[in-house]
């Protein structure tokens, strides 16, 4: 296991006592892309901050390749690359120098650092902008420089904290393909996100976290199957009278997890949608069915079921 997080707890003691991380256990395998999915304030960034030696845990341990990040932070930093949530590029240095000096900090010789910087600028299509200063870069370009800088010293684990926050769709796609490229090179990636699509399409495994706890853990497909392979049927009805017997009847139907009355009609959540649709239409016909909306199982439905709230709120 390349990353081992054990019983990690972080309490911020200021005017307000905040329990940011509440006993998280996670392990990451070499070479996988691991997603931490959760709403703002779930504890994702704090978890990453501890793993990247920037925050001291209240209790628990994090080990990277067996090295305790609290006991040996300087050593652990050699094994990790970090792309923080905000642009932290050195504004006194050009794009090229940002990468070049990063290499020097990690012990590269002048010629080695120079070769590595030019190679990365080329790989990330930044060569034309090598002499530009960070404030002149767009958000997407700055993010690319940050990723190039983070992997310059060939880290074993790359941490990406909300890598696509604030990026336009093209830059986001470019960032995704960069991450997939790193994955092919065998780098372990830990990313936090509150974008479902990102977690779903990028990660090999993911943990859904909320209020500092891991609620669910597994591959996106497995999570969808075991936790939320639920299809949501929203029925809009003209007549809202005498719906209770219908709800009773539908609830007892095999395959239906729950049925409830909503403002516009009915919501039926079913583990399996086989053969249910005609029965629903038939049963609701007497109440004047106006519209029917079906939401296929997705991480989003899993998330809503687990946390009771929408990610984007």
């Amino acid at each position: 296991m390349i990353v081992e997080i054990e019983k990690l707890t972080k309490i911020y003691e200021s005017k307000l006592r905040v329990l940011a991380v509440d006993g998280i256990d996670l392990v990451m395998k070499q070479g996988e892309i691991f997603g931490l999915l959760g709403p703002n304030g779930a504890g994702k960034t704090t978890t990453i901050s501890v793993a990247t030696t920037r925050t001291l845990p209240t209790s628990g341990t994090v080990r990277i390749a067996g090295i305790d990040v609290v006991k040996h932070p300087a050593h652990a930093r050699r094994l990790i690359g970090v792309v923080p949530q905000f642009n932290t590029l050195d504004r006194s240095l050009t794009v090229y120098e940002n990468i070049y000096f990063h290499c020097r900090y990690f012990g590269f010789s002048h010629s080695h650092a120079r070769a590595r910087s030019l190679e990365l600028l080329n790989q990330f299509m930044l060569s034309e902008r090598k002499d530009v200063y960070p404030p002149q870069l767009s958000g997407g370009l700055a993010q690319r420089v940050q990723i190039a800088r983070a992997i310059a010293h060939r880290p074993t684990v790359l941490f990406l904290d909300e890598p696509s926050a604030g990026l336009d769709p093209q830059s986001r796609m470019a960032m995704w393909s960069a991450v997939e490229g790193l994955h092919k090179e065998g780098i372990t990636v830990l990313l936090t996100t509150h974008y479902m699509e990102e977690a779903d399409s990028l990660s090999d495994r993911l943990a859904i976290i909320d209020h500092g706890r891991v609620l669910a853990l597994g591959s996106p497909d497995k999570l969808k199957q075991t936790l939320g392979a639920h299809t949501v049927f929203d029925l809009k009805l003209k007549s809202h009278e005498r719906l209770e017997p219908l709800v009773d009847k539908l609830s007892r139907h095999p395959g239906v997890t729950s049925a409830e009355i909503t403002a516009e009609g009915l919501r039926v959540i079913a583990a399996s949608s086989d053969g249910l649709l005609p029965e629903l239409v038939q049963a609701a016909a007497g109440h004047g069915l106006r519209d029917l909306q079906i939401t296929e199982p997705s991480l989003e439905t899993v998330f809503i079921q687990l946390t009771g709230r929408d990610l984007r709120e």
Binding site: T55, H72, R77, P84, D90, L93, H102, F106
Partner: protein, 272 residues
């Protein structure tokens, strides 16, 4: 070299990498750097040792600005140059790098213990302070109406005082840069830097305060006093000064106290 093994050489290389980065940034701003460190001593020498002596006896200021004043002023101006460089080289950049841009992050994430990252800042600032102090020597020779010569009799003492004074200034810069809110950095200049400079025995030797005992003992809490007196002992030993051992002890004490305080502030800012 395997990155899973700990190798002490990597620390040295990381430290040198940080120094190289700072040097690169400084070379880009070399002229502003020279102006920043040179303007104040240049003007001071020009007014007090060139203009005023030429005004003749009719001018009451000319007495205070007599020929000997240049000799008294030389170590004092070196002390001011050291202090201002220390603050400009550490406090100002740090307070902005700790600000919303969090530019310090990449350097904090390099494979070095955090105290060494802070130490690099202090060392780099000390190098600038030394350059600034040495610049004052030729100025004092060429600007005043009658040249002031540095009279270094003990080179070892001179280097020791120069290095220790510069590290002290860098440590003071670290304290200010890591504890003061960037918005209030201007205020710090008016309420801390200016008073400790004016009361730092820059324009007069400490011994001459004998007639105002409360002030003479009060200023002993001011670290700048020991920088001025130390340079006086090393550069113009003919002017009265404190004993060298007391100066060195005080420099050591203030440097370690300020460095410790500054490091605590630095860690508080980068670790949560």
């Amino acid at each position: 070299m395997n990155k899973f093994e700990l190798h002490p050489g990597i620390y040295v290389k990381a430290f040198l990498g940080l120094l190289l980065r700072d040097l690169r940034v400084l070379t880009r701003e070399f002229l502003p750097f020279l102006l920043r460190v040179g303007m104040q001593p240049l003007l001071f020498l020009f007014v007090f040792t060139f203009i005023l002596p030429r005004m003749g006896n009719g001018n009451p200021m000319a007495v205070g600005g007599g020929t000997d004043f240049g000799t008294i002023l030389l170590p004092g101006l070196m002390a001011v140059a050291i202090m201002f460089s220390g603050i400009a080289a550490v406090a100002l950049p740090l307070s902005s790098e700790f600000g919303i841009t969090r530019e310090i992050d990449d350097r904090v994430m390099c494979p070095l213990p955090l105290w060494a990252v802070a130490l690099e800042k202090v060392c780099f600032s000390a190098m600038q302070s030394m350059v600034a102090a040495l610049l004052v020597i030729p100025m004092a020779y060429y600007v005043p109406a009658s040249p002031v010569r540095a009279d270094v009799r003990n080179w070892f003492l001179f280097l020791l005082v120069l290095v220790m004074a510069s590290l002290l200034a860098g440590s003071l810069g670290l304290v200010i840069g890591s504890t003061v809110n960037p918005k209030q950095i201007g205020l710090v200049f008016s309420i801390i830097i200016v008073p400790i400079t004016f009361l730092g025995c820059v324009y007069y030797p400490w011994a001459w305060l004998g007639k105002i005992p409360w002030l003479q003992y009060g200023v002993l809490f001011n670290p700048i006093v020991y920088i001025s007196e130390g340079l006086r002992a090393a550069v113009t030993p003919s002017i009265s000064h404190m004993p060298w051992w007391a100066i060195l002890l005080a420099l050591l004490f203030f440097t370690s106290a300020l460095a410790r305080w500054g490091l605590k502030g630095f860690l508080g800012r980068v670790l949560s």
